[in-house]
């Protein structure tokens, strides 16, 4: 597809900026240095007013003339080069392909530019935060790991996708769901239900729960990928749909909810576009086993890792609400965690027929 010279995109300009930085430094006989925002818990703040995790101001310098950083610096420039190539060719790609694209043997040596994908993945995140460009804008996609079903119609590459007519399987949420790629043509749902587990999403989809309660069912099969989070955010923002989250009752479930709601620590800068501060935690709550009469023997004992993780959550600023402290402490004191699947102990359709209807009726959720 040979195209005539076109205007470089904003992202492309940012990527070329990396080369400019090297050239300018060399001109001034200075050590080429990239300032990369620090991606760790110590450099994020919870903005209570906005309900978002925001990135702090701390940056780390990555210099070329430093033995410990020289290789990483070289790799960063290499990855920037590969990303700009994507921009020029207007292609999207995966993290793994970036790795293969940038891997080669350095001339006159038998050293590889990169040895494993573990080396290139963080560099892409580094560039995302440094250039304040989303991964989608960099044309890097993840796997399609989410599904959606319900009264919503999308236009994807010109194809109309009516999610009421896609049977039990629903529509596979693409990795990049920015408006340029995916438009929401119509949406008549009343709310979005984001389910952690594919199995429970299947249960709800099979039971046509969405038809009865007029909602959109979304799942990310575990920690929801960026596409799913971004799509939920768009439905929330553009169609004013409330978002409810249904996860297992364990520390990881809580954290999934918090990532959907406030954003993640690692990529805090994109909370602006991903987080849904008004998302509600529908369940499973540590109060549910008692409220819904789940027997103790369908619980699972918290292991040491679970307990440690729960204690970490207790310390996060965005879990400081009284209701949340109670929620987590209740789980710790019971010493048990419960999977959504455990509801099947009472009835195969307990989730569809009893649990969710009662939750919705009682407006029993955490904020």
């Amino acid at each position: 597809m040979a195209k005539k010279p076109r205007k470089p995109t904003a992202v492309e300009k940012k990527l070329v900026g990396v080369a400019d930085l090297v050239i300018a430094a060399a001109e001034k006989r200075k050590d080429p240095t990239i300032a990369i925002p620090v991606r760790s818990l110590s450099n994020v703040n919870f903005n209570e007013r906005k309900g978002l995790i925001e990135m702090g101001k701390r940056k780390q310098a990555r210099s070329f003339f430093n033995v410990a950083m020289a290789k990483k610096f070289m790799q960063t420039v290499l990855v920037a080069d590969a990303l700009s190539e994507l921009q020029r060719a207007n292609l999207t790609t995966s993290l793994r392909e970036i790795y293969y694209r940038t891997k080669h043997t350095i001339k006159d040596s038998h050293e590889n530019t990169l040895d494993t994908q573990d080396e290139s993945d963080p560099l892409i995140e580094d560039l995302e935060v440094t250039l304040t460009a989303l991964r989608e804008e960099l044309h890097v996609r993840a796997e399609n790991a989410g599904s959606i079903v319900g009264p919503v119609v999308f236009v994807d590459d010109g194809d109309r996708v009516d999610c009421t007519r896609l049977g039990k399987g629903g529509y596979s949420v693409p990795s990049i769901v920015e408006p340029e790629y995916l438009q929401i043509a119509r949406c008549t749902a009343d709310f979005v239900l984001l389910v952690e587990k594919g199995t429970q999403w299947n249960r709800l989809s099979e039971d046509k729960f969405w038809r009865r309660y007029n909602c959109v069912l979304l799942t990310g099969n575990g920690q929801p990928p960026r596409g799913v989070r971004r799509l939920a955010r768009r439905l929330h923002e553009e169609k004013q749909l409330p978002v409810y989250v249904l996860v297992d009752n364990d520390p990881w479930g809580y954290y999934i909810y918090s990532v959907i709601k406030q954003g993640s620590i690692n990529l805090a800068f994109e909370s602006q576009r991903m987080a849904i501060p008004k998302a509600k935690f529908m369940g499973l709550s540590s109060a549910d086993p008692e409220a819904y009469g789940l027997p103790r023997n369908v619980g699972i004992k918290l292991n040491d890792k679970d307990v440690a993780r729960a204690r970490e959550l207790l310390a996060y600023t965005w879990f400081q609400k009284k209701s949340w402290q109670e929620e987590i402490k209740r789980m710790l004191s019971s010493g048990l965690k419960y999977e959504l699947d455990a509801l099947a102990n009472k009835d195969f359709q307990y989730l569809t027929k009893k649990y969710l209807p009662r939750k919705l009726k009682e407006k029993d959720w955490l904020d």
Partner: protein, 644 residues
């Protein structure tokens, strides 16, 4: 389980009618009970003495004969000159190749003091006969079992007697004996004795024929000889193996180790039974006199103190102290503060001699040696010495072919070097070749955190890398785990001393490795930058759409790289302008340019140390003073000629 339901009823115990048995009366039993002679006992339990397998038996026989020869020479103040000959033999026919032979003749000849005629038969054909058991003095042999047990093993497996030729001086005649052991009585049987003409003016020659197996490698006779030479650089040894060339090990240290003194037992080291026996045997007439004269470090004052603590009269007759009184005495001794035993009974190898031994026998880049001050376990003084040889000699390193430069695929690693350190263990200068895992030395090496010294070590295993760790324990009584003297038993004091010695070696090795690393890293730094600059220039060029003045950028970056890595200074650092072993006492560093450090070897003609180094006198003051800092003297120190 079906079987559970229809299980047949448990068999009821048989009525109490025992099967008819031959009953034996006490009288009959008494008739069978009789004394067992030690020889009979060891005939049946030969593994206790190190004759478990034919291969090990061959080693044990050589070892016992050589140990005896060296002990005799050293005690008589003679620099040992030993010839070890191992030949494959066959009955009548031509001997088979050594690797297939099952019978060997071992001949060990020394230039020692010789043995007086009357003593020859009991020494070689009576178990537990010797001069070493009853005194506390450092020597290789301890019990007086070794050589006679070897002879007994030969007799048992081949039926051949032990042949001994010995001469005490050029004026005395040489005596030839053929002896066997009477295993029932533990007495020698003389098969042949005569005076013969012998070319040596003085010395002893022992010949044994035994069943054995000759195989090179770990725990072989060859390894034993080699390790013996490392720890005994004052020995001249000729080894004639059953196949291959004769090996001549020249003397590299022209001085006998100081003769160890004999000491009396230290009170802390004895047990109650021993005390009772000493009380009976003593020649003293009073208890305090007994304590003061039969033990080391017990003065009349201390003796009085002990008597008081035991509530015994200092004038009591020792023979009358028994039963509860003796036990009180024993307890009083243990609770009285007594000075540590004297340590002049020990004769450590010494740092220069260890260095000389390691340097000569093992090819490497770095050598060091440490002799610890004496310490005491259970009333027995001991000294731990450790040494280290690290790396590959420059010529060896050059030989290893450069690894093929192929780019690695994901998951592939650089060729792992699985070489781990080799431990060579010694007790009273005798190499210990068997049971490394049971030995305290091995445990101490494993317990040392070698990673602190820049050597890789995976959990619970030996440090990795081309390295030989030398550990020697010198003591009047080395606590072995068994009679075959293969492993040193566990004592906290011993473990601690070994660990301290190893740590000191490790620290010096770490200093050496860091120093070497520093020089290399500057070079590597520049290399890294140069390597990556090209990648960066190409990437920037592509980012700029191929419109970049690449040559200019490359030039600018390269100039900065040279400036940052110290320019000419790095070349100088890399240029081998001698960073000798400052601050590394008793160490040698070998580089392609030569040897740094105080090689305690001097060729007799004053030429730089080369093939046949001979040591200067080892008095500590004879060593070169430590180099002053900043002074680079890369040339070998060996050229110095010391007054003799």
């Amino acid at each position: 389980m079906e079987g559970m339901k229809s299980r047949p009823p448990a068999p009821t115990p048989k009525p109490a009618v025992p099967p008819p048995r031959a009953t034996v009366s006490a009288v009959e039993m008494g008739a069978r009970q009789r004394e067992i002679s030690v020889s009979e006992f060891f005939t049946k339990n030969r593994h206790l003495l190190g004759f478990d397998s034919p291969r090990k038996a061959l080693l044990t026989c050589v070892k016992e004969a050589v140990d005896n020869a060296l002990d005799a020479c050293e005690e008589a103040g003679i620099l040992p000159d030993v010839v070890v000959k191992v030949e494959a033999v066959a009955n009548g026919e031509a001997p088979p190749p050594a690797s297939q032979a099952s019978r060997f003749r071992i001949t060990v000849t020394d230039n020692g003091p010789g043995i007086v005629r009357q003593q020859i038969p009991p020494i070689f054909a009576k178990l537990l006969y010797g001069s070493k058991f009853h005194r506390l003095r450092m020597s290789r042999g301890q019990q007086g079992i070794g050589i006679s047990a070897a002879g007994m093993y030969g007799q048992l497996t081949t039926g051949k007697p032990v042949q001994i030729t010995s001469r005490t001086s050029a004026r005395a005649p040489a005596h030839y004996f053929e002896v066997q052991i009477d295993t029932k009585k533990n007495e020698p049987r003389i098969l042949e004795k005569k005076q013969i003409a012998w070319e040596s003016p003085r010395g002893t020659q022992v010949t044994m024929e035994i069943e054995g197996r000759y195989q090179k490698g770990r725990a072989s006779v060859d390894e034993y000889i080699e390790q013996t030479i490392i720890a005994n650089s004052h020995v001249k040894l000729t080894y004639v193996p059953p196949e291959g060339e004769t090996k001549e090990y020249a003397r590299s240290y022209e001085q006998l180790p100081p003769a160890p003194r004999e000491i009396k037992p230290h009170p802390y080291g004895i047990e109650l039974g021993m005390l009772l026996k000493m009380l009976q045997d003593t020649r003293s007439h009073s208890l305090s006199g007994f304590l003061a004269s039969d033990f080391s470090r017990v003065s009349p004052n201390v003796a009085a103190e002990i008597c008081k603590a035991a509530r015994l009269s200092p004038n009591a007759r020792p023979r009358d102290v028994h039963g509860q009184a003796a036990e009180n005495l024993y307890k009083a001794i243990q609770s009285t503060k007594i000075m540590a035993p004297p340590t002049n009974c020990l004769s450590p190898i010494g740092e220069p001699a260890i260095l000389a031994g390691l340097y000569r026998q093992i090819k490497g880049e770095f050598y060091t040696a440490v002799t610890r001050p004496p310490a005491v376990y259970r009333g027995n003084p001991f000294v731990i010495e450790a040494g280290l040889a690290f790396g590959r000699a420059p010529e060896q390193a050059a030989q290893t072919p450069a690894t093929k430069a192929i780019p690695l695929a994901e998951g592939e690693a650089e060729k792992d070097d699985h070489e781990v350190a080799r431990i060579i263990r010694y007790a009273n200068r005798v190499p210990l070749l068997y049971q490394p895992a049971a030995c305290e030395i091995t445990k101490a090496v494993l317990d040392t955190t070698w990673r602190n010294y820049g050597v890789a070590q995976s959990r619970g295993s030996l440090p990795a890398g081309p390295m030989v760790i030398f550990v020697h324990m010198a003591s009047v009584w080395v606590p072995f785990t068994s009679e075959s003297k293969e492993a040193i038993a566990e004592y906290d004091e011993i473990h601690k001393e070994i660990t301290l010695a190893l740590r000191e070696c490790g620290r010096r090795l770490g200093a050496f490795l860091r120093r070497r690393e520093r020089a290399h890293s500057e070079f590597r730094r520049r290399n890294i930058f140069e390597l990556y600059i090209e990648e960066i220039v190409q990437s920037c060029n592509r980012l700029k759409g191929g419109r970049l003045a690449t040559a200019k950028l490359r030039d600018q970056l390269l100039k900065m790289a040279t400036k940052i890595t110290g320019g000419g200074k790095t070349d100088e650092l890399l240029g081998k302008n001698g960073s000798g072993p400052e601050g590394l006492p008793h160490s040698i560093i070998v580089t392609p340019e030569g040897v740094e450090g105080e090689v305690p070897v001097v060729a007799p003609n004053g030429a730089p140390a080369a093939e046949e180094p001979v040591a200067p006198p080892a008095a500590p003051e004879a060593r070169a003073p430590r180099k002053t800092k900043g002074k680079a003297t890369p040339k070998p120190r060996a050229g110095r000629k010391k007054k003799r």
